[in-house]
Symmetry: C2
Subunit: 306 residues, 2 copies
């Protein structure tokens, strides 16, 4: 079989914020052998249209590392993450890319395995309306914690407080001083900081942290586009308060994928967890959907339907 397949490519090395013009949609003819290089891998879900392996047959729905393209060729191997989804599943396919995919793994593993919250502990989540943050905050509430999130628009703050059950939320763009904002929202200090942004937010969180505080370092979006904005954490605070800062990502918990997604799936069915998704349509919208992530224009998991 041979098909014409469009894919999104990067035109040139990107410095600072990516913009839509950095990308272009190209076409290729795909045959059985994978063609290499410029296509961009991304976590996605799709339908198998042809297969030469026993494990997969046409019509199967799979989720894993696909590409920004119409058709993806892959060879099954232990290193390739490609799970077959049950078509009898009562949850929307899109959830397998958000709460039941890498975002859910990151949120569940990062909170429960890295931070190990105890009932009554105080949890701060940055980028709290994002795909990971929105789940972390809800998971922390289910663990009996006091949860405060920050986000960049008042609509997001409303969502956190009124739909997702955060105890408090604030718009960091309206706070001239993050340290005093955190002192106000955490009069008893922060026990757990789930960090999606890095930079001065991390510095401020460390300053408000309690003894034996834990920082799950999940992303540093404020630093991706400008290394000059790197955090200069006060390491004396880290020592005196015996803080643990730990970097991790979703793949670290892959062996427990079934366990985690089983729990999260049950919570969704029981209405205990809301899944927030922000879906764009069509290959041409991939670059704008991607670049918008760096400007905080999405709410929840950003997905593109091809």
């Amino acid at each position: 079989m041979e098909v014409e397949s469009r894919y999104v490519a990067v035109k040139h090395h990107v410095e600072g914020f990516p913009c839509e013009d950095d990308f272009e949609v190209k076409k290729t003819r795909l045959r059985w052998t994978p063609e290499s290089g410029e296509r961009i891998a991304a976590y996605g879900a799709g339908e198998v249209v042809a297969s030469a392996c026993e494990e997969y047959e046409a019509g199967d729905i799979v989720a894993g590392v696909l590409g920004w393209e119409d058709y993806t060729l892959f060879s099954p191997s232990p290193a390739v993450l490609m799970s077959k989804l049950s078509t009898s599943n009562d949850l929307p396919l899109s959830h397998h890319l958000s709460a039941l995919g890498t975002s859910g793994m990151t949120a569940y593993g990062g909170l429960y395995e890295v931070c190990r919250p105890e009932r009554g502990e105080k949890v701060f989540v940055s980028a709290a309306s994002g795909s990971v943050g929105s789940l972390v905050g809800q998971f922390a509430k289910l663990a009996g914690c006091y949860v405060v999130g920050c986000a960049g628009t008042n609509a997001k703050v409303d969502l956190l407080k009124n739909k997702l059950g955060f105890d408090e939320a604030f718009n960091y763009k309206e706070e001239p001083d993050m340290k005093s904002a955190l002192k106000r929202y955490f009069p008893d200090g922060i026990d757990i900081y789930f960090d999606n942004v890095g930079g001065e937010t991390l510095e401020a969180a460390l300053a408000s942290m309690n003894t034996y505080g834990r920082v799950a370092l999940c992303g540093v979006i404020s630093e991706y586009t400008d290394p000059g904005r790197r955090a200069t954490p006060d390491l004396l605070e880290v020592i005196y308060k015996r803080i643990i800062i730990r970097g991790f990502f979703a793949w670290d918990f892959m062996t427990r994928f079934g366990e985690f997604t089983g729990i999260i799936g049950d919570w969704i069915r029981q209405g205990k967890v809301q899944v927030i998704e922000d879906v764009s349509d069509g290959m041409e919208s991939v670059p704008s959907a991607f670049t918008a992530l760096f400007h905080g224009n999405n709410i929840g998991k950003k997905l593109v339907k091809l």
Copy 2:
């Protein structure tokens, strides 16, 4: 009983590097009630000259938080760390203030409990000829690790390589670029960094760190006197490499004091660990002994004999 007791006091708030003129030796008459405030607490050993409690009697040798003074008054309580030393002990009294005191606890707890070294792992120690670093390096060798230390003079480097058994050591003042120095000494990367200094050394160590690397954050001497020299660690490296950075100090392991010092004492008796001490004499030498710590003038544990 009443005695005249000299003590070292701080004259005024100190900014930046402490200097000898910031201190003065004062006199007081000490009676049973503790007099407060300006005297400076320090870990030390002494002989009990009078006691109103059953637990202690005149002639006992004790180690714990005493003061920079001739005589210290203390009331035993669970919060006061004051251990009686056996006079039959075959090791010098001074060792109870270094390898068998807080430095030993910091080195043993920080290496074995915080970093959990495995045989064959690569360990980097900064301020490696200091009281803690000199022990960490030797302990790591006993754990079967490859150990490299950095220090600030060639004499210290010689000590590390020729007396303390470090695999390699280098003078950081002779390295124009710490990152390339570490790439040279750790062609296979760093698994454990025992950080006594913070600043750019921490940044460079993170850049050379392997996946699942561990940083024990024990001190940030390069930052104490100048917050402008704070480290700006590359947090993306921390995430991608799943690095754990953990602050701690000796007191965290107090419940295991006996266990740790038992092991360290055996190693010393067996000649497996060398204890490096740098002893000054007399109350008047306390300020110069203390301020010298900030300029790297000591080798091993700095002690003052009163």
